[in-house]
Structure formats: structure tokens, C-alpha cells
Symmetry: C2
Subunit: 375 residues, 2 copies
DNA sequence: CTGAAAGCGCTTACAG
DNA sequence: CTGAAAGCGCTTACAG
């Protein structure tokens, strides 16, 4: 008995079905079945080389494997196969946390990955540009491919991605050569949402924007402007208010606007860059006694869990985040299996449709309201 | 040139810093530096065997490794070291999604794991008991240890965990021999919360419970009952309402109660089993025109993102979910590094303190309200 | 100071 | 039908 297995023997009080202190290897199974490791490997993998194994031997092998609770060692298998059956997911951890947006997409990724028997490894980055090297260092055999969640490299700082690992991005801010990007029809979604507000009779429609310089927020602004123009509503620049992508920033932006515009006519409806911002916006209105949707309508974007966790629930634009995650996994696996072929078959970027999620936070316009300056 | 590297050469249009179509190996670096693989391994790992390497050789090795963008292959390393530098996180995917509770704990796990340079692999299970075998099959070298998130095996169905992989659980429903469980002071939290409601003047306090048969919900009920008793408030059984752990179930439970008890005095405050339930509860009140906190106070539990994403924000019991995730990683790593030793040093279960998160959803009691039956 | 060699546990041509 | 052998890319005693 080696020193190693002695240590292991002490690891835990003898469990019920503890078949041994050390996992069984192929050689162990071969020995128990009175055959060679090769035959065991063939049988257990249903491999279909020229070689065949007799039913008798096969039966003995299966029995021995079950008896020893044999599980092929993943590291050894990965080394021999040059595939580790795992995909990576890289996302930026903002303010120490992965957010709702991540959670939704990740749910799609993990469902699809599990279906395809792939492991999913999550990498939390601090900053896309600064962690570009880490991204590259992660390509050391621990994953077969990687999904980049909303990467925001500028054109000037293209990521240094190795050529021998396939990448797929979701909501990338820029397109990278060789990396398929999965997007959604954000401009159309924003357009439809604002049109919806207009159909409810709203005329003075504010937009709290996302962070500037990013593709997503810009598309939402374009949809907003186009919907106003098509409805022949005037664009009023005080109604285009920079916010960000968090509840905090939404609250601050709306609060600030109310303070600066005391006495001015309030917006009848606010289209927010995402659901989190909408929540902050509703809070800011609440602070000055305005109720949603009675006094003012508010709408979000993304339709994350947050949209359904607010009272009233948010009218929002449903991005197919789960589907986007699942799609990313499928594209990635196609490339992993056929690095040369899968490339041309796919349009780049892939754009998935969005749809309006109509809920309670949008009502009909109330009479013109203003905040009394003294308040 | 082998067939394999030919394929790889076509994988992507020539990238800027593409150092080669195939990742460099230790042998490649050794060749470039004019030395042996062993010396390269020693230098790159700062290994401290008896062996030494001269500064000149060392310099050549470092230069060659950088030039070739050498990254040690993880699978090969894992095979040689019997450690793959990864931990697993197993959680049940309910209704196709990982929830807020998962997200919070996972944020703690990934932060700590990243700090310790460990990969984090997420396994989505459908059912603890049915997937018990899958859990075992995952222990095939792909992870060095595993964290079980809120496992709910009954005593009758103890999981079949292999002895050679360490496990740590968080909020386990039962304790397993050899698995440290990390908990939080849920009963005390519930007690403090109800005490808080009482201090605000509430007397008729309802509790919407979590799923029956689980430790967490039971502890919350005990805290609730004890707080009532200590304040010499009568326990009224219609005020102990079974719900569940989702917004849906919270809404349904509250709605149902209101329908069944039309004309009865309403609760002044509702203590909900978690934040999601509280959101559902607020919605149900909203449907019959009752406002929170003006007409009725509502409090949650857990203090997940949901608690801060509702308007009004929820008074809740803050569970240190992030800290629990981080703690789990640390305990697990201690066991991985010292399977024999780390065991006794640690109390089991570990109980972390909770604290009250006071927000806007709890106010002072309004006069006695009843719903008109006709409504 | 340096390197040849064995071994980690698999897979896969290849030769009986 | 069956198995000995080489190889995947590392690490680590061990012998110069």
C-alpha cells in the first residue's frame, strides 16, 4: 500500500457504498475482467475501430466496471483526446457581482451545455481590456472553446485570442475576425416599445440611456428617436437623459432630472435603457410621490427577472437571453467539432428577434403634471 | 506537418499575435532554449527540489517560453499532479432556472475561487435524489472538490458520495458524515424580524411559509412563533399560511387567503419566507388595492437582489450568502490540500450570523382593515 | 548544475 | 477477436 492510498483511507469514515479509497483505473477493470485495458476502453466507449470484442468478454468488462464503480479519468482522457468536454464563459464582474443579465444568459448556456454533456466553467473578469491576457492564458486545455459575454473591447484593443480555441461572443461591442457574434434586434425592440407608449397616448416620452459608447445603448437610442420621428413627435433633448445600466444610476439620473426641472412639465412615460434602470426610475418617482403607472408610465428593456420582481411588473422588451446562451453553446460546439467547416455556414452577426412584454407599468397618460419647485 | 496541424492552420484568418497554429509544449520550449523539458518545468513552476538551474539557463528558458507564448497544458498537468485546480458547484435548476439565491452564493464562490486561482464548474441538477448518481459520476478527475448548494436529500436517501473527493454543503437539509455544512442563523433572523415588526406596533402578523419539510422554512417558522410568544401575542393559525419559495407561490397563497377570508380583519404585517414570496405577496395586495407599506407591511428573507429591486424596497433578513459561498470555497480548498487534517479543526455545522436589513416595506400599522366580501 | 527515464490514466493505430 | 506499444504533455525522483 502506498503512502498516498493510506492517506486517502483516512479521508472519510467508511461510507456505505465506498468501493475503494482510490478511484478504479482502466487497468484495474482490465485486471478484474481478465482482459486488456484496450478492450475495456473499446467496450466502454462504444468505439468502432476495426476491432471487435466478443460478447462474453464484453459482459465481463461491463460487470467489472460496474462492480468497481469505474469512471474514466477526465484529465487522462482529455490529454489523449485533446478535448476536455468543457466550455468557458467569460463575463465581467461589475462591482463584485454577476448580474441578472448574466444569470439569464447563463441559464441558457448551462441548460444547453448539460444537454450536450459539456462542463461549463465560469471566468469572472474585472475588465475586458486589462484581462485580455488572462483570457488568452485560460486557453491552456482547460476548455475546448469560450463564450464571451458582452465583451467591450474597443477597436483599438482587439483581444489577443489564440487561434486554436474557438470563440463565440454575445452582444459584443465590436466584431472580431473569426468570432461569431450573437445579437438581438435591439433597435427594433426600442422602436416597438416607444411605439407602444405612443399608442397608449403618451406624447412626452423620456429615455434614460445606458452607458455611452456601447453598441446596445446606442441602438436603443436610435429606436427611440426613430419611433418619435415616425409618429411626428418632436424630439426634446432634455428628455434624453444619460443614466447607465444599474438601479443606482437610474435612480440618480431621474432624481437629478426632477431636481433640475422642478416646475417643468413631467414626462408622461419613461423608456429606460434596461430593467434595473427602470427600477431606479420608479424609486425616484416614488420619492416625490409619483405613482407608476397612475401618474407616470415606466418601461424597461431586457425582461430579466427584475422586470417580474417589481411591483408593478415592468413592461419591457424581451430579449431572448436564454436562447442566445443556448445558441452560443451550439455554435461553439459546431466549431469545436469542425474547426474548418463550421465557419462559413453561419451568418455573422446572428441577430435574434425581440418581443414586447406588456405588463402593468405602462398606463394611459394622466393630465400634465409638474413638480412644485419647493418640494 | 501532420494532418492535425494542417487542419488547425485553417482555423482562423491569420491573427495578429498568432504565435503558431498549435500551442507550444514543454518540449518546444526546451528545444528553443537548448535545454531539457525538466529544467523548463522546474523554472516555470518555481519548483524547489534539490535541483537548481543556472541563471543563464533560466534566462534562456523564460525568454523562450515568452516568445512561444507557452502555457502548460492543464490536462497533462492535472494528470501528473492528480489535481485539476477546479471546484464544482452543484445546484438544482428549478423550473429551468438558477435563481437569485444561487446567483448571490455563486458570486461569493467565484470571487473566492478566482482569488485562489481555481476554476469553477457549475453543474445544474434536476433533482437531488434522482441525480445522486450523476453527482458521483462527476467525480472523475474533473474537479478536486464539490460544493453542494442547498441539497435536500432525505435521511433515507443519503447521497452516494465518493470518499476521494471532498464535499462541502451550504444550507443542507440534512447533515452527512464527513461533509461540513455551512448554515446561517435563520431562526434568530426570523425572530429578530418579527420582533422588528412588533416594535413597529404590528400585532396581527402573518407568516407565508416556505416549502414544508425543509429545514430552512421550519427554522423561520420557529423564529416567528417564538417572537410572538415572547411578546405575549397570541398565535392565530389562519395567519400561518403555506406558500413556497417563488413569487408565483407567494402571490397565489396571498390571493387565496384574501379570497377565503373576505370580510375578516387583514394582517397588519406579513413576514414572508423569502424575498420572492414577498414580491408575490405585494402583488396580491396590489390587486385588491392595498398599498405597501401604507395599508400593510411586508417583509422578506434572504436579502437577495430581489429585495432591492422592488418598489418599495424590502425589509428583509440579510443572509451572508456571498460570505457563505466564499467560506465554502476556503473549507473545500483546505480539505483538498490536507484531506486528513482539515477535518477535525472545523466545527460542523458552521453557522454564520444574519442581520436585519431595514427598508421601506415595513411601516406602522394602519387602522383595522377588511376586504369587502363583494370585491 | 543538468538530463534521461518513468509514470499519471487514457486512446488508437497496428500487429498478431 | 485480442493485446502489446506508443503517445498525449506534464512532473518528479534519481543518477550523473
Amino acid at each position: 500500500m502506498t503512502n498516498r492510498s493510506q492517506n486517502r483511507a483516512h479521508q472519510r469514515p467508511p461510507a456505505a457504498a465506498c468501493a475503494g479509497a482510490r478511484p478504479a483505473t482502466l487497468a484495474d477493470v482490465a485486471r478484474a475482467a481478465g482482459t486488456s485495458a484496450m478492450s475495456v476502453s473499446m467496450v466502454l466507449n462504444n468505439a468502432c475501430t476495426t476491432s471487435q470484442v466478443s460478447p462474453r468478454t464484453r459482459k465481463r468488462i461491463v460487470a467489472a466496471a460496474a462492480q468497481l464503480q469505474y469512471r474514466p479519468n477526465l484529465a487522462a482522457r482529455a490529454l489523449a483526446n485533446r478535448r476536455i468536454q468543457a466550455i468557458g464563459v467569460a463575463a465581467v464582474v461589475e462591482g463584485g457581482e454577476l448580474n441578472h443579465y448574466f444569470l439569464e444568459i447563463f441559464n441558457g448556456i448551462i441548460a444547453s451545455a448539460t444537454l450536450h454533456r459539456q462542463n461549463t466553467t465560469v471566468f469572472g473578469l474585472h475588465d475586458w481590456v486589462r484581462d485580455s491576457i488572462r483570457l488568452r492564458d485560460l486557453c491552456d486545455g482547460r476548455i475546448d472553446g469560450m463564450i464571451l459575454l458582452a465583451p467591450t473591447f474597443g477597436c483599438e484593443a482587439a483581444p489577443n485570442l489564440p487561434a486554436y480555441v474557438p470563440f463565440v461572443s454575445i452582444h459584443a461591442n465590436h466584431l472580431f475576425p473569426g468570432v461569431v457574434n450573437i445579437e438581438s434586434a435591439e433597435e427594433e425592440g426600442a422602436y416597438a416599445l416607444v411605439q407602444h407608449l405612443i399608442a397608449h397616448g403618451h406624447r412626452r416620452i423620456m429615455h434614460l440611456t445606458g452607458p455611452m459608447g456601447l453598441t446596445g445603448p446606442e441602438r436603443r437610442i436610435r429606436g427611440y428617436l426613430r419611433a418619435l420621428a415616425d409618429a411626428r413627435l418632436p424630439f426634446e433633448s432634455p428628455f434624453l437623459v444619460p443614466a447607465g445600466f444599474t438601479t443606482e444610476l437610474g435612480r440618480t439620473a431621474m432624481r437629478g432630472w426632477l431636481a433640475r426641472h422642478a416646475g417643468d412639465p413631467l414626462p408622461q412615460a419613461v423608456f429606460c435603457a434596461n430593467d434595473a434602470v427602470a427600477v431606479g426610475c420608479i424609486e425616484a418617482f416614488g420619492e416625490v410621490g409619483l405613482r407608476v403607472p397612475d401618474d407616470v408610465s415606466v418601461a424597461g428593456f431586457d425582461d430579466t427577472l427584475a422586470a417580474r420582481s417589481v411591483v408593478p411588473q415592468l413592461t419591457s422588451v424581451r430579449q431572448p437571453l436564454r436562447a442566445m446562451g443556448a445558441k452560443a453553446v451550439e455554435l461553439l460546439l459546431a466549431r469545436i467539432h469542425d474547426p474548418a467547416g463550421a465557419r462559413e455556414a453561419v451568418p455573422d452577426p446572428i441577430v435574434l428577434p425581440v418581443e414586447l412584454a406588456v405588463r402593468a407599468s405602462v398606463g394611459t397618460p394622466s393630465r400634465v403634471r409638474r413638480l412644485v419647485p419647493s418640494r
